[in-house]
């Protein structure tokens, strides 16, 4: 009869006394298990059980008495029968019962927050795919704590005939040593434990962290994604910087403030010149890919590639008919179109609405399994598993793209060659005149998409992609591991990753219209998510500045200004505005104080230029953006933009708090407010030149 299971027994050499290994082998073989022995310490690396084909690994941490063979056999048997991941035999203590219980409760429940893991075990039996790196001097405790964090099923084994206490069991000295080790273990960074291949097959790519399960399906590997906002080095650097700053302030607060303001002034000045340069560039070179009418009409439908549209929806049932209408109006052969509606498993209402909607046959409902993180890029990564198109694009649920956008994108890829990894359409709004907020938002979008991004394209800089209407070759997306599911501006991050890999992003002459956020709270929510995402992107890509410099060269500076500077200025702006305000409007009282902050005349002039020309120019850029997009009626509202900037600064601080406490939370922007206002609907329809919702698709 062939053996039931091959078991790998790991015993530290020093523990193999009194014929322990022989006893174990005998006991297991008697029960039809075959076994191999490895006399090593688990701390030197876990044994590769696959190499000997073991179905179970048993780590014997402590010598047992003569019943050890029997105990191990029982544990292996139970592990197999109950389909557990891990089974342990708790350690006995010499400590008084109360103290032992306190010890256990404190360390397991309070310190590590896990209900069933003792801090020490005599024997641990586990499935070979439970893989963790053990480093500490208490391998049993570390193993069990990490396995628990990883979400493995762990159970305690209480033999009918427990082994008697041996000399090694804990005394007070041991208790103190272990306590120290456990506290160290607690403060050592928790480890990310990837799913086993089997788990990946069933649940998709993911991992465990601090007892939580994360399924991201795809995305850049750890260290290159935003799962952890800062690397240890960054955190250390930040603490060091904060400490140095505090020390400098204590030694000489005035000099420190002067130096800080000087540095900020230089940064502001550089940003001012850079933005001016970008705008001039966007006027002079106009790098946007344009299309002639005959190019578009000359495309042979039969030869067009298959196209996949990703549309992640979450609690957006109201805009679904509008989205279906927009997709149905795309001038693209429908037999070559695959529209993936990516719906979240827990969003029953949208799922029901989608099912009730008369969806054309090129629509496909994809239910994204409920898991952490609950983000748009996670949904897109899941959608990527279903994508069958040669090209892919993301549209938000409220988007109304230019009907010829897909054809234009195909043409743009053909025109621009293999080095272009993404073609970005411009975004604007169909409700620009809903209220003052939407008007200024429109001016801002016009500036960003019509001037800044085309300026960036003109100088070949990395482009932070817009949230939607970015077109890719699906193969490239897979090659790049899709989107970073933990980054809440995955678009910006992907733009940077593309650029690092040597790909370019091209802007094309096509517009997608969206719904401008018309409510302050909703806007603040959305903006703080964007800032949080920009922060994540900045921190992720600045983890290895030296290699970034090699990849980007001078564009590392562009990155500092476009991503870093953009967010950093939002944090600092209120302080700078206060200084400006005090200088001009309370000159008698604060003029001299403000002036003393700029002891160097060059810095003073740079500061004055930045504050006066800078604020003026930034305001004026919004006007230029609006004019370039043809929103002439919005120009007069740009004078209110300083209020908008204050809102941006509030959002930035909110974003920082959220980054610390809920780094992966996707603050959902509510869409569809326009649907309840006939006047706005009319306005939108005038801009689009069609009805927003086709009656055929209303359920």
């Amino acid at each position: 009869m062939p053996p039931k299971l091959k078991v790998l027994i790991v015993i530290p050499r020093r523990r193999d006394r009194l014929g322990l290994s022989k006893k174990i082998r005998r006991s297991l073989e008697r029960n039809n298990y075959s076994c191999e022995f490895l006399f090593t310490d688990i701390r030197k690396g876990q044994p590769p059980p696959e190499s000997i084909g073991a179905g179970c690994v048993v780590y014997v941490n402590e010598n047992l008495d003569k019943s050890s063979g029997q105990i191990i056999f029982q544990m292996v048997d139970r592990l197999a029968e109950e389909n557990l991941d891990c089974l342990y035999l708790p350690r006995k203590h010499r400590l008084p019962a109360g103290l032992a219980a306190g010890f256990s409760t404190w360390f397991s429940r309070i310190l590590f927050g896990t209900p069933y893991v003792p801090v020490s075990a005599q024997v641990v039996a586990y499935r070979p795919d439970v893989a963790m790196r053990i480093r500490r001097t208490m391998p049993d405790a570390e193993f069990l704590i990490k396995a628990s964090s990883a979400g493995y099923r762990i159970s305690r084994f209480d033999p009918e005939d427990p082994p008697s206490l041996k000399r090694e069991t804990a005394g007070i000295g041991e208790f103190v040593r272990k306590s120290y080790e456990l506290v160290r273990l607690k403060f050592k960074n928790a480890e990310v434990i990837p799913f086993t291949p089997e788990a990946v097959r069933i649940r998709g790519r993911g991992f465990y962290y601090k007892s939580n399960q994360y399924v991201h399906f795809d995305g850049p590997p750890h260290g290159e994604n935003a799962f952890k906002s800062m690397s240890q080095k960054q955190l250390f650097g930040l603490i060091l910087l904060a400490g140095a700053l505090l020390a400098a302030l204590l030694v000489s607060w005035r000099d420190t403030v002067v130096i800080l303001i000087g540095a900020l002034t230089i940064a502001y000045f550089a940003d001012l010149l850079f933005n001016l340069f970008l705008i001039v560039k966007s006027f002079r070179s106009d790098p946007e890919i344009k299309f002639r009418e005959e190019e578009l009409t000359g495309l042979d439908d039969g030869k067009l590639p298959k196209y996949t549209v990703f549309c992640p929806l979450y609690k957006e049932w109201q805009v679904l008919p509008q989205f279906v209408s927009s997709m149905s109006r795309l001038d693209y052969p429908k037999d070559k179109l695959q529209v993936l509606l990516l719906l979240e498993e827990n969003d029953r209402r949208t799922i029901e609405a989608a099912r009730a909607c008369r969806l054309p046959d090129y629509f496909q409902i994809v239910i994204v399994p409920d898991s952490k993180p609950k983000t748009k890029p996670k949904a897109c990564n899941y959608g990527l598993l279903y994508a069958s198109g040669e090209y892919s694009v993301i549209f938000d649920a409220e988007d109304v793209p230019d009907p010829r956008q897909l054809k234009k994108a195909v043409l743009a890829f053909r025109k621009s060659g293999g080095k272009v990894g993404c073609v970005q359409a411009k975004l604007n709004f169909y409700n620009p005149r809903q209220n003052i907020l939407t008007r200024i938002f429109t001016a801002e979008y016009s500036l960003w998409f019509d001037l800044i991004l085309s300026g960036l394209q003109a100088i070949g800089a990395p482009i932070p992609l817009g949230g939607t209407s970015n077109h890719f070759r699906t193969g490239d997306l897979r090659k790049f591991n899709g989107w970073d599911a933990f980054n809440v501006t995955e678009d910006c991050d992907l733009g940077m990753r593309l650029s690092k890999a040597g790909f370019k992003t091209a802007m094309m002459d096509s517009i997608t219209l969206e719904e401008a956020n018309s409510r302050t709270k909703n806007w603040l929510n959305q903006r703080s998510r964007w800032v949080k995402g920009y922060l994540q992107t900045y921190l992720v890509h600045m983890r290895k500045p030296r290699s970034l410099m090699k990849q980007w060269g001078r564009h590392i500076l562009t990155f500092q200004l476009v991503v870093g500077g953009k967010i950093f200025s939002m944090f600092i702006n209120p302080a700078m505005w206060t200084i400006t305000f005090l200088y001009f409007f309370a000159h008698a009282r604060f003029g001299a104080v403000v002036k003393s902050l700029f002891p160097n005349p060059v810095l003073l002039y740079m500061g004055v230029v930045s504050l006066i020309f800078g604020n003026f120019l930034y305001l004026y850029y919004y006007m230029i953006g609006s004019a370039k997009h043809g929103h002439y009626d919005i120009i007069k509202y740009v004078f209110l933009v300083p209020l908008y900037w204050i809102g941006m600064s509030i959002a930035a601080w909110l974003a920082l708090i959220r980054l610390i406490y809920v780094p992966h939370e996707w603050s959902k922007t509510t869409h569809g407010f326009h649907l309840f206002d006939k006047k706005i609907m009319k306005q939108a329809e005038n801009i689009i030149g069609n009805t927003l919702v086709d009656g055929n698709y209303v359920s």
């Binding site: 001009f584 005349p601 004026y620 006007m623 230029i624 004019a627 009626d633 120009i635 007069k636």
Partner: protein
Amino acid sequence: MAMAGIREKLKRPEYIVALLALAFGVIATAYSFRHGYILAYGDSESHLNIAKRVISSLTPGFAQLGGVWLPLPHVLMIPFVASDRLWRTGLAGSIVSGLAYVISCLYVYKLAFRITKNAPAGFAAFLVFALNPNILYMQSTPMTELPLICFEMLSCYYFVRFLYEERELESLLLAALFGFLAALSRYDGWFLVGFEAAAFVLLYLTRKRFREKAVGQFILFSTLAFFGVVLWLGWNKIILGDPLYFVHSQYSAGAQQQFFLQKGQLQAYHNLKMAFLYYFVTSLENVGGIVYILGAVGLLLYLARRPKVNRLLLVLVLGTPFAFYVATMYLGQSIIFIPAITPANFDWRLFNVRYGIMMVPLVSVFFAYLFFKSSRPVKIWLSSMILLQLSLFAFGRFPIVTLQDGIVGLSHAKKPDAERWLALNYDGGLLLLDDYARTISIIRSNVPMQDVIYVGTKPYWEESLDRPEKYPTWIVMQKDDEVWTRIYQNPVKQAELYKYFIKVYTSPEILIFKRNPQVAAQ
């Protein structure tokens, strides 16, 4: 390849125009330099000194730009006045004016070409402008007329391009940008941007469609173009405590005209006819009568054709200086004396005639239009008229009024013997001087700028007037200037003066004192 590219470029008319302009400018400047005309105007040195003081003074910094004259020409001179030689020769200012002249020539050509689409016509405009001796003289001086003409031409050119919807947005922004720069060069620039903004109102009124667009464009233009004005008001408020300091100050043009008003010599004040006549005659003498009349014919011909609105707007914008000077003379904010109409019994009969060169660009452009519309024989005749006009200038039949004003007019710089004396005897130490009264020239007296205590070196200035012995080694005073009034005419201060200083130079107007080395200051 590179040489071939350069050769190809040099064949383009714009390059020919620029190179010729550069050559004319350099020759004219060399002529002025050789004859000592660069600093003929008293204001020339003042402009240079303002720029110099920003970087070299007891109290350097941008506050030295002051609050009466607009700052941009001085800011542009700063890199050049850093060289003492360029500052003392006046070439620092000539370089700025000369570059402005070259750009102006280019844009006169481009504007004429834009409205005629004819290169020879553009070239005719260029010649009328570039060879005008008044323009040539002024471009060799540190005066601010050429920088203004340069920015006005740039703004006009892009404004016209905007009117004809050629790269509309870019043109609009450039027109506003150069309007902004013009408004920071001379007060004429304020009128220019005002007229350009008014043109949008006219556009709005004449349009039946796209009115919203006109409003947007008006805001877009005005926000940038008037930003210079707002900045200047803010600057006056912060540095000098009054946003309208340039109007209210004792150094303002208006305050200066009070002197002539009291003497009854402000003929154009509240007299529109005289104001018009003064500017008409001045501009005519600057441009040259023949070309002026032919330019006027061209203008009428231009206005007679369609589309009328755009044409009218162009004339309006190019003609801004005319309106500006008529208005400011009428309001008593500026003054011109010109022999043709200034009565013989006035103290002075030549003053500020350079204002007339502002009309040279307009005449050049419309002369070109006439040229373009003429038949071949008439074109030859018109070309000969340019030559005739130049000959009249060259042979003195038509005086070069701007130069005359600098030599014999009220604008000329005084050169008292005291400054020659000081140049020979100055041996270091701080020098107290009422620079505003132009007692002596700092440039010609060889005193380093950082050794001069003048009104802009507060607190040195105030303390020195209060306690003359505190800082200066030298005190220069002219009858009735600030130093004279506050030290020499004050018996107590005068006693102190004689206690600590020795009078080393005496003339009916100017006294120079030098610290007595044997008496130590307390």
